[in-house]
Symmetry: D4
Subunit: 222 residues, 8 copies
Amino acid sequence: MNVIFDYDRAHRVGLPEAVFCESKPPEVLAELVLELAAAARGPVLFTRLSSDVLRELGPQIAGLLDHDALSRTAYLAGHWPLREGFRTAVVTAGTADLSVAHEALRTLRFLGLPATLVADVGVAGPWRLQQRLDEINSHDAIIVVAGCDAALATVMGSNTPLPVVAVPTSVGYGVARGGEAALHSMLSSCAAGVTVMNIDNGFGAACAVTRIARLVSVRSVA
Amino acid sequence: MNVIFDYDRAHRVGLPEAVFCESKPPEVLAELVLELAAAARGPVLFTRLSSDVLRELGPQIAGLLDHDALSRTAYLAGHWPLREGFRTAVVTAGTADLSVAHEALRTLRFLGLPATLVADVGVAGPWRLQQRLDEINSHDAIIVVAGCDAALATVMGSNTPLPVVAVPTSVGYGVARGGEAALHSMLSSCAAGVTVMNIDNGFGAACAVTRIARLVSVRSVA
Amino acid sequence: MNVIFDYDRAHRVGLPEAVFCESKPPEVLAELVLELAAAARGPVLFTRLSSDVLRELGPQIAGLLDHDALSRTAYLAGHWPLREGFRTAVVTAGTADLSVAHEALRTLRFLGLPATLVADVGVAGPWRLQQRLDEINSHDAIIVVAGCDAALATVMGSNTPLPVVAVPTSVGYGVARGGEAALHSMLSSCAAGVTVMNIDNGFGAACAVTRIARLVSVRSVA
Amino acid sequence: MNVIFDYDRAHRVGLPEAVFCESKPPEVLAELVLELAAAARGPVLFTRLSSDVLRELGPQIAGLLDHDALSRTAYLAGHWPLREGFRTAVVTAGTADLSVAHEALRTLRFLGLPATLVADVGVAGPWRLQQRLDEINSHDAIIVVAGCDAALATVMGSNTPLPVVAVPTSVGYGVARGGEAALHSMLSSCAAGVTVMNIDNGFGAACAVTRIARLVSVRSVA
Amino acid sequence: MNVIFDYDRAHRVGLPEAVFCESKPPEVLAELVLELAAAARGPVLFTRLSSDVLRELGPQIAGLLDHDALSRTAYLAGHWPLREGFRTAVVTAGTADLSVAHEALRTLRFLGLPATLVADVGVAGPWRLQQRLDEINSHDAIIVVAGCDAALATVMGSNTPLPVVAVPTSVGYGVARGGEAALHSMLSSCAAGVTVMNIDNGFGAACAVTRIARLVSVRSVA
Amino acid sequence: MNVIFDYDRAHRVGLPEAVFCESKPPEVLAELVLELAAAARGPVLFTRLSSDVLRELGPQIAGLLDHDALSRTAYLAGHWPLREGFRTAVVTAGTADLSVAHEALRTLRFLGLPATLVADVGVAGPWRLQQRLDEINSHDAIIVVAGCDAALATVMGSNTPLPVVAVPTSVGYGVARGGEAALHSMLSSCAAGVTVMNIDNGFGAACAVTRIARLVSVRSVA
Amino acid sequence: MNVIFDYDRAHRVGLPEAVFCESKPPEVLAELVLELAAAARGPVLFTRLSSDVLRELGPQIAGLLDHDALSRTAYLAGHWPLREGFRTAVVTAGTADLSVAHEALRTLRFLGLPATLVADVGVAGPWRLQQRLDEINSHDAIIVVAGCDAALATVMGSNTPLPVVAVPTSVGYGVARGGEAALHSMLSSCAAGVTVMNIDNGFGAACAVTRIARLVSVRSVA
Amino acid sequence: MNVIFDYDRAHRVGLPEAVFCESKPPEVLAELVLELAAAARGPVLFTRLSSDVLRELGPQIAGLLDHDALSRTAYLAGHWPLREGFRTAVVTAGTADLSVAHEALRTLRFLGLPATLVADVGVAGPWRLQQRLDEINSHDAIIVVAGCDAALATVMGSNTPLPVVAVPTSVGYGVARGGEAALHSMLSSCAAGVTVMNIDNGFGAACAVTRIARLVSVRSVA
């Protein structure tokens, strides 16, 4: 296949090229894994790789990958070494947002950044967030994952001075289905300075935080 | 013109027919006011009657109407007598929602129901709602008026057992312009049992509350 | 899993936390049922739990649940005791709306409120609603469930002084598919004071009515 | 300018070419009127010609036209002779739909077809339509003009065996603004065989009825 | 089940109630067929009944129905007697529109009206329509079925004085998927007096034509 | 202001940078004209420059520009020399599309390419296009400008082997307003190989044709 | 079946009629293949023919077709002879766009035009396009295939004077799903003269290029 | 009026409450300015305050404000002191994006953060960004402001490891009007980790950067 992989990206952007697996046919994916494994130029992250597709790839390919079902991510040839010093809180509204939250967590882990999951603190039970607010604010950045009305993004953004990256999820029905309601709610948030990613883009949120972590690290040294 | 006015509506639905003035030409409105005044069959409410249009109607018509600029409402031949015993809180997120909130307040007043305005308690400053929560919960029903992310509807609905009628407003820019973001956020609210009206429909919210007030009054007597 | 369940909600909002099952993986649901059963803190309602998913949960879990296929709801540990004194009419346009109507009925039953189903009274056969109008109006609140043009919500709202909660359904094809046509029709209803829920949200409609029932009950006692 | 007018259309389609004036600059319109007047090939209909634009055309042009402000239509060189034998009822929900209804009425009149306006029979006051149902059904075809929830189209279609042409209007606010809610409601009508025109297209509805009238006339002779 | 069937509809509207089968569970459908068969009050039409669902209903039910796979329609207890004297042309753009065209044809046949299918005359090969134009114009009404750009509706409407009922189809991909592009093209047709049905609504188009046929028949007698 | 003008573009892309004037404040435009005039690096094209804005720029600026009101374009320092050998037909459906058609014509003229306007050949009068088909096909490329149903693009594309660039216009009302209906119709055209530009983008269509003309010229020489 | 095939199209439009297979039932497709094979009037192209559907057609039909799985195209009775002299570059952003790119490549090959695939040169790794820019510009026309933000179309269009035909793909999630984001981005491209096709329409792009190639060929001879 | 100003916000969120002036009536704004001036609790930022509205406020109010016309912002009682050590680059595609870019610049200045404007480096002239890339990358964070296809966000994000906050602008016509095309393009960016704000929200982008700057400052000290 001879895919043209952008190995230079980690140097240029501080982030490695990752492989988005959705809508790629299994035979193309399989070949890609083998090529990248043979190239042996360091760890590679695969996203949106469901257990079903993994099974289709066969045991040889699956054996090369460290796969996680909930987040639908896989590591080839390990991951980047863990760097202490920058901690991210991944905050979710409900159980249904867990898949996206774990995509963010696994991406952060791949990129060497520690992170904490603070799950199930949706606004419908306000005391739950209140109880964990100090813990959340002890981190360096916050990723908020929420669907439906996405009110958690606004409530979170109104209670922290930290950088907030909000990820709408496609969970929901009626006008909430697909995630546009959550996306629009987050973009219109009355909490100033909340930034937003595409629907279900846990990977992108982790990358956005990594850009900040790199800056903090560069600046702390300087 | 010989408009066919639905005088029977108050008996059938518990609510009188009101005159929605937007998109009616001034000469039609003027004639309508005179006809209704001549018929002398009790108070009539006019909604969406801006000061600019009122001026076009001329001083004779204006003299017949008790007009309020902010809410764009007018009363012809007074209003219904005030009935004690059912109090509504009209809660707003920001200054920009005041016009819609006042449409609800003026409609409630026309229908004889007392109401309290609790303004400027948007989620971006969470302590503001917290401070007034007990006061709000001492009422019988709540109308929430909010635009943009409309997070106030969810926060309010999660902190009260009262009936909540949510009104999205068209205030906002970008994806929030027109009010669809607020509408969808309210419809997708994770606070159970929050009901929703059309965008900017303060009049309708007041009518919905009046249906509840009538039921309470009928049932209390029984 | 250690889910953080909002047991306080029934006290704070008058409504218990319910479990929305769609988009939760079966293994997560199974664990949740077991945890909640073990906690033994009273009845729990599950919504959007299809027969297919129930089968995947296995006989042990299914044995713990009182499941209803048409409404896709289940009760764990029973339901709230029936309270007389507030009766809701659930009115539907056609056979295709029955699933949503039954979600409302089962939720009301779970919360202890009696309700009557008035099915198949769509506007295309106007005499059908006419025949049952007095019966419907003898209730305390009305839930209207309708798809497509949702004209039933307007016709119903124009013939009753009772609180009306309208639920659009996603039944339909062409411009009606997904339920937005019905939703927009209901939000634009020329019958004043008709409140609206998200598409297919029979559960939410029952909760809205429960808020009203609680108010009536509190006020009757006072 | 030398506009290429489709004089053959009346012969080919049974309907003459009409001039849609919106978005044409006044100087272009003025020239067109003069050219068509000079050509003297029979009556011409102008639609969407507002009083403001007419004023800009100047007194010479205005003197050539029989203009009606409410319907924004004008006749040049008279109209087609009145043909008895096919009568249309134009039924409207509210005062705000009058402009579109009159566009239909004036177009029918131009094409030589008698018509009756049945105004203000919206569903919110159901007795109003009931009172006039027999009168409406004594016509040959029905044009229903309605905005917002457009429930009148369904109620009308369910109470008549006549051909029904439904015209949604752009009157309304929130989700009803622009007329899409009414359009979608009419397209999804549960009354079978109701046909629909573009939003505000009173002219088109009159043309659709004229096609039917021509058929009836041809067939009656045969 | 005791469905409330609107047997009066044929008298009131000139069209019998039909059973729309999509989104009704098979067991509900089966019961309905048996009830209607037992009632024995004349022929009943079923629409959107796919071969797959028919199979699920079992051989007893299937034995009661005269089913057609392409149009997904079925007759119970026969159909209305064929009435000569009013002939409809059903004109389609391409092979992919055949299912909707046949729904119209089978509905017309059920209602007793003869019809001709003129297939494959899309605008991309303009000589095809030209060749059959006289044949089409020898009918009494035209149903145009087209997807994608739906240009056929405009070309047809510009070449006939007959009543034209246009049905957009959901066939297509990209911006044409779902049928909105075809619907909007038909509603915006520059051919005057073309009426439009909901996407894929071949049944409705046949009913609209039947309303016209009834009028012609009544008027011819008079 | 020191605008960074892309003078290299003509060399790199074969097209010069042009100045889009809409949404630029008059004072910024005025300064830009003066800077570009002072730089004296050849002719510059201004698009979307209305007569109203031109007036605001004052007589000094207006004196530097060769402005055309209908197309809202202006030339600074002349235009490119006319090159014979590649002729474009700009075909329009109706009078209302003339502004966009003239934007294409003036841009072609600026870029040195001759073009012919074939106006008023919309599909509603099919004989009009038929009459001029040979003339149109004697050109090298075709720009089709049409709004509403945009059927002209399909009819044109089905009757020519030439490159066709289709420009939807925002002319229209109801579902046609804004031009999306025309855009979607053109994108879904059943005439193969019709390319499409953004709504009202006559300038872009002229540039697309210029790319083809340059290729023909390069290849003819070779 | 007697399909009316437009054999005249190649002469009239320079492009043969092709068979779009999606949404045609297998039995209809099978019959069509046999009819066209029997007619023996030259090569025929089938598009959107998936391997799954091919299997359903059975071995006899499959034996008549030269099928390609990735592009979902098939040739019946060969293809047009290869004409040298006009070369197209098909440029793609990522692996996920390959299916659409191959539809363009196979269509070009069918029509006798040589083409080069330049894959994987998306903007996220900018050096990749830079490296191959001269190679791309040595062709006669460019087809750009891209999904998501479709930035490649703008970058490509800003770096070439060649005709550019852009094809948005439906690849993506969140706001990119379905391809509207890519389509709108391409239509709004700040690179002048980039033309656009419907989403996923690789076939149409190849046809558009073929129209240009024919012109070049005609003009070179002249 | 007694507005409830959230003075605590600067402490809680690191950002002061700002006054969004659009859709607030002038008399309300005037009163608000006077109240805030009297309270004398530090500098206050006003956004979306156009010169026209400022004029309506009268000279007394205008005299209290340091207003900037292009950015439509005003400072009351000065601004926060300038803090060295964190520098932001505000990068724009074209002249039309300047208003939004200046809103970001003025907000940063108000909050005490230095910033550089890098204007007119849109992708249509690729050498312009290339020339200034090193300069841009010498900053600590990047705000990208772009409309239409917003390709600049992707190109920028692919060439920097810094945090990138992208602001779509509402500049454009056709499918780009309103800014949704730019918003969706940015959300779908193939450059990983680019965060997005609401359309035209230069203020929010500045606040997002300020959250990062605060973190860097806190962490550098630690």
